[in-house]
Symmetry: C2
Subunit: 141 residues, 2 copies
DNA sequence: CCTATTAGTTACTTTAAAGTGTCTACTTTA
DNA sequence: TAAAGTAGACACTTTAAAGTAACTAATAGG
């Protein structure tokens, strides 16, 4: 449970391991653009994620001190997640990756397009049919 | 084959998808520190990787124009791989991630430790026994 | 009194990715 | 004559990760 089957003495590898996997980056993204958010709200925003995986990701990122978990013992309970200082640091670099990605993967539609931050985020993986012009799935593997 | 089961209209997600997975970052690392390298040499440096996965990664990164493949039709053939301009751009950012990772995951042994670049790279995943004090596995998941 | 809500947990199934091993062509060298 | 080296391709097996679905506690509200 510590960190997958490949022990990583190489720091950057450890970090990449944390960030790899479906939903993780998107989750950080959502938190960085929306601020602290409750579990249910996260699940609703990250359309298509299962509670299981969402929980897994949150727990893992919490353990890495990239985000925090605030539990309010009301009934029903309210649990809020937000970026820690580490999370903020990370997002700064991810922003740069985003700039790169925009340059590489955006067909530059016309001209002066403002370097936006991950536009077009929408839904999620669909194992199902949906071959129609449905809302474009988002999030990487 | 295009890009896994999760189509990604979000640029940063597409990029992360490319960089995720075992060996990929380490491979880029090796290429950035050693310069253009031949297939066999790569396989020898990235101890533990299978030819299958190495080939897969190389092909994928070539398709992404992050590295190039130079085929010399001698006998036996010589194939050299190296970073493209994109690859170089990427490495710059990965360096920053590395700095972060060093700060986060290095127990700062004594004092003024020079922010080195991914030290301790050694071998690889071992499904096998090797519970002895063998060379520490490297590379992330 | 029955239902909805929140934030999960647990067990089971499915699947994509990685591992493993064998095979190739062509020439040089022992 | 046999072996070795290069850069893979291909088929088959294994496994970890993700998906799916059912279930929980405690209270408020109709």
């Amino acid at each position: 449970m510590s960190r997958s089957r490949y022990p990583s003495p190489c720091p950057v590898s450890m970090l990449m391991e944390v960030l790899s996997g479906p939903w993780t980056m998107y989750l950080l993204w959502v938190l960085s653009t929306n601020g602290p958010t409750r579990f249910g709200a996260l699940k609703r925003r990250i359309e298509g994620i299962s509670t299981k995986v969402l929980t897994e990701r949150l727990r893992m990122l919490e353990q890495e001190e990239i985000l925090y978990r605030h539990y309010e013992p009301t009934v029903p309970p309210q649990v809020t997640y937000g970026l820690t200082e580490r999370g903020q640091e990370l997002v700064v670099i991810l922003d740069q990756l985003n700039d790169l990605a925009l340059r590489w993967y955006t067909p530059l539609p016309d001209e002066h397009s403002p370097s936006e931050r991950c536009v077009g985020l929408a839904s999620a993986p669909t194992v199902s049919p949906a071959p129609t012009v449905s809302p474009a799935p988002t999030v990487f593997k």
